[in-house]
């Protein structure tokens, strides 16, 4: 048997092994269908919670797969496991970086989305840069994605907060509905305390609100509630926190009627007016958000409108009902009148789950007043017959609360409850006893017959809480039932040992109280009970017995306290106040998780109190110029059309050339190392140098800057990508921005950027063009045309921009260097700049001067870099060997001697300055 099971386990193990292997093979295959099948299996594994992390290397290299579904599934996998396999995850980064530059906005957005979802700390600078860039993207969809990425980066590295706040500030100024919800969400997660950022955007947010998608609406409304509490002054409701009844009384006095009329702040009014239609939303969360906004902000007369909408939500799923009822329960305590017309909507249906029933009871109890109590009580009577015992118990409690709150019905309720004492169900009886006890405390003298009736119950009722309550009642009011009390004690003494602890404690109390009032009859019984208690197992009971014996039984040693024993035991006790558990919950913002749990949840923002004096409303003023600007200035021109470019782009992608071969070598560990190093170098060099193409003055308002983005130019890998930024400083729109009349040296080629049809005044646009410089530093001359003017401009590249980084191992580097000796090697001696004597700065300066990547090196005296020229792919190798006291030697190996010479000059300059 044992052997058999071992074999089975072994077989299972084998088959699992085999499956993993086939997945590997399938992922390696050339067929997309096989890859897809493998990815589907892997995703199914992830979904079931199985660990699939060992396939990481095989999966991640498919990140550039052409098949969209494979790609998407790879993304799913990558985001799931990147955190665990940080090093390997870096392999995928360049694909996304390339995606970020894609002309198609949807591809840019999805690249940013995945890139920012990869939780690898080392890429924080890359993410930061990508977010900043995307935040000023032309497409609102990309900007929305940037807003989504902000909380991701913040949770990865909270130290980026200050920079992120800058981005948030920028995005908050965005005027499209697409961005608004997402950026407010980012604001809430990163810097909810920076309420000052909202000022300028408050009115815009209010106006956009209705067109924002529903989830964004919820976030914005909740944030604006808090904002309005701090910023808009609200004078008329000084009596806001007072009880409603008191308010009614006050209204009667003529002095109150003469209150000076209050004019509401127009901004406050704007918010109330713009949120009101959203009460009609199909989304329960939106309705709830508006309801809480009205509850916390609106004047009393206007809050009523939310009742109807909230009652409508009671028709929704039971989970929605649960949350809504909790909030309604809190609201009904303060604003009872609001829900009174809807009383019947809170009637309980037999199909409701118990938790809903109990909450509805709570609401009904809160709504009960002199006028409707009779109908409510009639309802309650039906509920008591329910088969749901928890619900019946809650109903009895509710009756008790109605009775304490409304004096007129106290006797009716009490009678009803007494009738329940003869109910067959013990739980009902027990619950009634507990409630009656509380009620009787209010006026015991009238009800000695009820106490007598309850005394009789001790024979039958078994529920400990109920027994304890009865005993307490008899003890407390033993003077009203002088004959029965000693008898009850006698019975209890008999069954003492079998009682529950709470009952035992009450028996001792009863005995003590009787001893003090009627010691003649009960002296011996009390002694007996105390003796039993003395040897009880529970130390509470033993303690109590000892304490009471000292207090009531006079001995020669007894202290001063025993004189006051009667006062101690039979002091008049105040009647308990039966309160709603929802009282005072409204200091939490309604609709929040904290309110629901009645405890502060993590990240909860307190709802501030109204300010004492009106804050300056002018902070929300926005210069006219800004607000006049159209909302939808962005054209969706580039949508979809460029999707066709996908095909050729993939084929010549630089990824395929460089990564793939080394991947197949499975030199993965060292590979990763390169990437880490290269990432470190890429990050600082990201401070790209901007060159001016067209000055604002010469361009008659149009200014153009360009930089070498150092990203592979996707339509043609032999071209250098030049990113241009057009800014229209003029007052009129610029149209049809395009390139004409390109003059080039032979062999050079230019891929123009697609025409920018419209550049509105004050706006900025970016475009990317590609230039094949043929590995020379000759300038590319062309005309930049607008619909009115033409400007002659030229772009001349620094030699360092004519190359792209490649990744080599130390051995490969040495081997290649060995082949580029003699004429191809140029060496210079130099003295390093004072500030430039550590490795980090050297690396930074070299990579800023030239687009090269770092090659790992065993010695810390040497820094090596490698790259290839963009056009002809000639290898460029750079070595900086440092010696004592800032002396250093720079070696450049390159078969293009011109490039080599120029590069030496540039790097020398960078290192010595």
């Amino acid at each position: 048997m044992f052997v058999a099971s071992v074999i089975i386990v072994f077989c299972l193990f084998l088959s699992a092994e085999k499956e993993a292997k086939t997945n590997y093979q399938m992922l390696d295959s050339n067929k997309d269908s096989l890859k897809l099948e493998a990815m589907k299996r892997i995703v199914a594994m992830i979904a079931r919670g199985k660990n699939a992390s060992d396939l990481f290397p095989a999966v991640v290299k498919n990140v550039a797969c052409k098949n969209i579904e494979v790609k998407k599934l790879v993304y799913v996998y990558l985001v799931r496991y990147a955190e665990e396999q940080q090093d390997l995850a870096l392999l995928s980064i360049s694909t996304f970086q390339r995606g970020l530059k894609d002309p198609n906005q949807l591809i840019r957005a999805s690249a940013l989305r995945v890139l920012s979802s990869i939780r690898v700390t080392i890429i924080v600078p890359i993410m930061m840069l990508a977010i900043k860039e995307a935040a000023s993207d032309m497409s609102p969809y990309v900007r929305k994605t940037a807003a989504h990425a902000i909380p991701k980066l913040y949770s990865l590295d909270p130290e980026q907060k200050d920079q992120l706040i800058e981005v948030i500030e920028k995005l908050l100024a965005d005027k499209t509905t697409l961005v608004a919800g997402s950026v407010v969400m980012a604001f809430e997660e990163v810097c909810p305390e920076r309420i000052d950022l909202i000022h300028k955007n408050y009115r815009k947010l209010c106006n956009l609100l209705i067109d924002v998608e529903e989830w964004g609406q919820v976030v914005i409304i909740n944030m604006l509630t808090r904002y309005a509490r701090t910023q808009t002054f609200y004078g008329s409701d000084e009596d806001e926190d007072e009880d409603e009844e008191e308010k009614e009384k006050k209204a009667e006095t003529p002095a109150m009627a003469k209150r000076k009329p209050y004019v509401m702040d127009p901004d406050h009014r704007l918010l109330l007016r713009n949120t009101k239609p959203l009460l009609q939303s199909r989304n329960a969360a939106v309705v709830m958000a508006v309801a809480q906004l009205y509850f916390h902000l609106a004047p009393k007369a206007e809050v009523g409108v939310i009742a109807k909408a909230l009652v409508r939500l009671l028709r929704s799923h039971s989970e929605v009902q649960y949350v809504v009822l909790q909030n309604v329960a809190t609201m009904t305590i303060k604003r009872r009148g609001m829900f009174e017309p809807y009383l019947k909507s809170f009637y309980i249906r037999s199909t409701d789950p118990t938790q809903i029933k109990v909450l509805k009871l709570e609401v009904l109890t809160n709504l009960a007043n002199e006028t409707n109590i009779s109908t409510i009580l009639r309802e309650f009577q039906t509920y008591i017959k329910s088969m749901d015992k928890d619900f019946v118990a809650a109903t009895i409690q509710a009756i008790g609360r109605c009775a304490t709150n409304i004096g007129e019905v106290r006797d009716t309720c009490l009678n009803g409850l007494v009738q329940l004492l003869s109910n067959r169900d013990e739980l009902v009886v027990a619950e009634s006893v507990v409630v009656i006890k509380k009620l009787l405390q209010m006026q015991p003298e009238k009800h000695s017959d009820i106490i007598k009736h309850m005394a009789k119950l001790t024979d039958n009722i078994q529920v400990p809480m109920a027994r304890a309550s009865i005993l307490w009642l008899i003890g407390e009011y033993c003077e009203h039932v002088p004959k029965i009390a000693p008898d009850v004690l006698r019975k209890m003494a008999k069954s003492f040992t079998n009682e529950e602890d709470i009952v035992k404690l009450q028996i001792i109390n009863l005995a003590a109280k009787l001893y003090l009032t009627n010691s003649k009859q009960t002296k011996l019984l009390t002694q007996y009970v105390l003796n039993l208690a003395k040897y009880d197992q529970n130390y509470d009971i033993r303690d109590r017995a000892r304490f009471i014996r000292q207090l009531i039984v006079p001995t020669e040693k007894s202290g001063a306290l025993s004189k006051y024993a009667k006062k101690l035991f039979l002091a008049l006790k105040p009647a308990p106040v039966l309160e709603s558990p929802f009282k005072d919950r409204d200091h939490f913002q309604l609709g929040s998780l904290s309110h629901l749990l009645n405890a502060k949840a993590g990240g909860y923002q307190e709802l501030p109190d109204w300010p004492e004096a009106a804050p300056d409303p002018s902070v929300r003023n926005v210069e006219v110029k800004d607000s006049v600007r159209a909302v939808g200035t962005v054209t969706y021109r580039d949508t979809g059309a460029l999707w066709d470019l996908q095909g050729p782009k993939k084929k010549c992608s630089f990824h395929a050339n460089v990564y793939q071969p080394s991947l197949y070598n499975w030199a993965l560990v060292s590979m990763t190392l390169h990437l880490v190093l290269c990432l470190q170098t890429i990050a600082p060099s990201s401070a790209l140098k901007n060159y001016e193409l067209l000055h604002r003055i010469t361009g008659e308002g149009l200014s153009v800057e360009y930089c070498f983005s150092r990203q592979p130019f996707s339509p043609d890998a032999n071209m250098v990508a030049v990113q241009m930024q057009f800014t229209n400083n003029a007052t009129a729109d610029t149209k049809n921005l395009h390139i004409e009349d390109v003059k080039l040296q032979s062999g050079m080629r230019v891929k123009e950027f697609s025409e920018i049809e419209l550049l509105p005044a004050g706006e900025t646009a970016t475009a990317v063009m590609g230039i094949d410089f043929c590995d020379s530093t000759q300038a590319a001359n062309f005309q930049l045309c607008t619909h009115t003017r033409k400007f002659f401009v030229s772009i001349q590249p620094p030699v360092g921009e004519l190359m792209r980084p490649v990744f080599l191992t130390e051995n490969e580097f040495k081997k290649e260097q060995g082949q580029l000796m003699g004429m191809n090697e140029i060496t210079e001696k130099l003295t390093l700049d004072m500030k430039c004597r550590n490795e980090h700065t050297i690396v930074q300066r070299v990579t800023t001067a030239a687009n090269l990547s770092r090659v790992p090196c065993g010695s810390d005296k040497e820094c090596r870099f490698a790259g290839r020229t963009v056009s002809s792919s000639s290898l460029v190798l750079v070595t900086v060997a440092t010696k004592e006291e800032g002396a250093a030697q720079l070696t450049v190996n390159c078969e293009k001697m011109v490039i080599g010479t120029m590069l030496v000059k540039d790097i020398l300059l960078a290192l010595t300055q």
Partner: protein
């Protein structure tokens, strides 16, 4: 916001998990299972459960618990509403939302969840956009896919996300242009023993199926819009126009959607279209009880009452019921004590009745509760509220 999602079936197994941020161990669900054990009925599991480090917010649909894990303050309704939207989407995609359907389509489910949330914040929840991104599986497509190796993922980019009407996909073309509107009304009433109505309210929805080419702009007007006491709209409906003219003006999404749901308040007297005569008695001392129930139509304007289903929770003391239905079939579950009677259509000439005896536990005293009776029924082509549509224009 939403950290992770776990799908738990009726027997308490986690059969799917998805994380949008760092992975949360599935052991967090233990708190949920505890609460589940404590709750007597499946629907009594509290929707919000606090645990030391997380909060669990769950919804129960189709006997599956959708448990969302969150870490910090978020409006609970936000999460609940979203989870229901997820279920609706699954239902829309797979026809049913069962454990088997989800397991069969686990990849599509995963792709959907990936698109619906970004970092825990809802991204694309409109079914039109999702369908552009991920095509719903059909038998034909599944077959073609297995043969050709093509995919469910849409080839073109989801341009709908960018447009000003995000709920409608672009480039819709039909050879037959058609639009259907279904008005479904539910009446919800509590009726006491003697037959008088305690509360009654009508809830209605207008479900639409619109298959129109291009970007149609529809208007819909009602004969008696005042009847509608409280309405909630699909985001496509223009609020202003409704406020001003009581006309529904909208650019519809493509396909099926819920245009509007409304409420007709109880102030307008509601005539309940069926009545029940009941006589359920238990005699003291005997172990028998009598059961007699008759249904009849009332004010149905000549329309037939169909698909009638009566259910009643009998007192705990009832051991078994021996009943004789004049039509339809009945079942009695001795464990839950649930009696259900599938009546079918009510014939006004021969009223359906259910008569017989119940056997009680011997020696037990007479149960005093009157069981409550739930009746579900359908009437085709009749609106109880009297709401009628006046016209519609393109």
């Amino acid at each position: 916001m939403i950290h992770s999602l776990f799908l738990v079936n009726a027997s308490g197994d986690i059969f799917l998990e998805k994380h949008w941020k760092s992975v949360v161990s599935r052991s967090v669900c233990d708190y949920f299972f505890e609460a589940q054990e404590r709750a007597t009925e499946p629907e009594n599991v509290p929707p919000v459960i606090p645990t030391p480090h997380h909060y669990l917010i769950s919804v129960l649909r189709h006997r599956i618990y959708f448990v969302a894990v969150i870490q910090s303050e978020v409006p609970p309704l936000f999460v609940i509403e979203f989870l229901h939207r997820v279920v609706d989407t699954f239902q829309d995609y797979f026809g049913v939302c069962t454990e088997a359907a989800i397991k069969d389509n686990v990849v599509v489910v995963y792709e959907l969840l990936e698109e619906m949330l970004d970092n825990g914040f809802p991204l694309a929840t409109e079914s039109n956009i999702l369908k552009e991104l991920i095509k719903p599986p059909t038998i034909l497509r599944t077959m073609v896919n297995t043969i050709t190796g093509s995919t469910n993922v849409g080839e073109q980019l989801p341009t709908g996300q960018l447009s000003v009407v995000p709920w409608r996909r672009t480039g819709v073309k039909y050879t037959n242009n058609e639009a259907y509107f279904d008005v479904v009304e539910e009446i919800d009433a509590i009726i006491d023993k003697s037959g008088s109505t305690i509360t009654a309210e009508i809830q209605g929805v207008i479900d639409a199926c619109v298959k129109l080419t291009g970007m149609p702009d529809l208007t819909l007007s009602f004969m008696n819009p005042r009847l509608l006491d409280d309405v909630s709209f699909h985001p496509c409906v223009r609020f202003k126009r409704w406020e001003a003219e009581r006309i529904l003006s909208f650019i519809p999404p493509d396909g099926n959607f819920r245009l509007l749901s409304y409420h007709v308040s109880s102030q307008n007297l509601v005539a309940i279209p069926v009545y029940v005569k009941h006589n359920i008695t238990f005699r003291e001392g005997s172990s028998q009880g009598r059961f007699d129930l008759t249904l009849g139509p009332k004010q149905t304007m000549g329309k037939a009452v169909e698909s009638v289903l009566v259910s009643s929770q009998l007192p705990r003391g009832v051991l078994n019921a021996n009943l004789n239905p004049s039509q339809g079939t009945y079942t009695f579950d001795p464990v839950t004590k649930m009696l259900s009677w599938d009546v079918g259509k009510i014939n006004p000439q021969k009223l359906p009745s259910l008569k017989g005896t119940m056997s009680l536990q011997a020696g037990a005293s007479k149960p005093d509760e009157n069981p409550s009776i739930n009746i579900q029924f359908k009437i085709q082509q009749m609106a109880i509220s009297g709401c009628t549509q006046a016209g519609q224009t393109l």
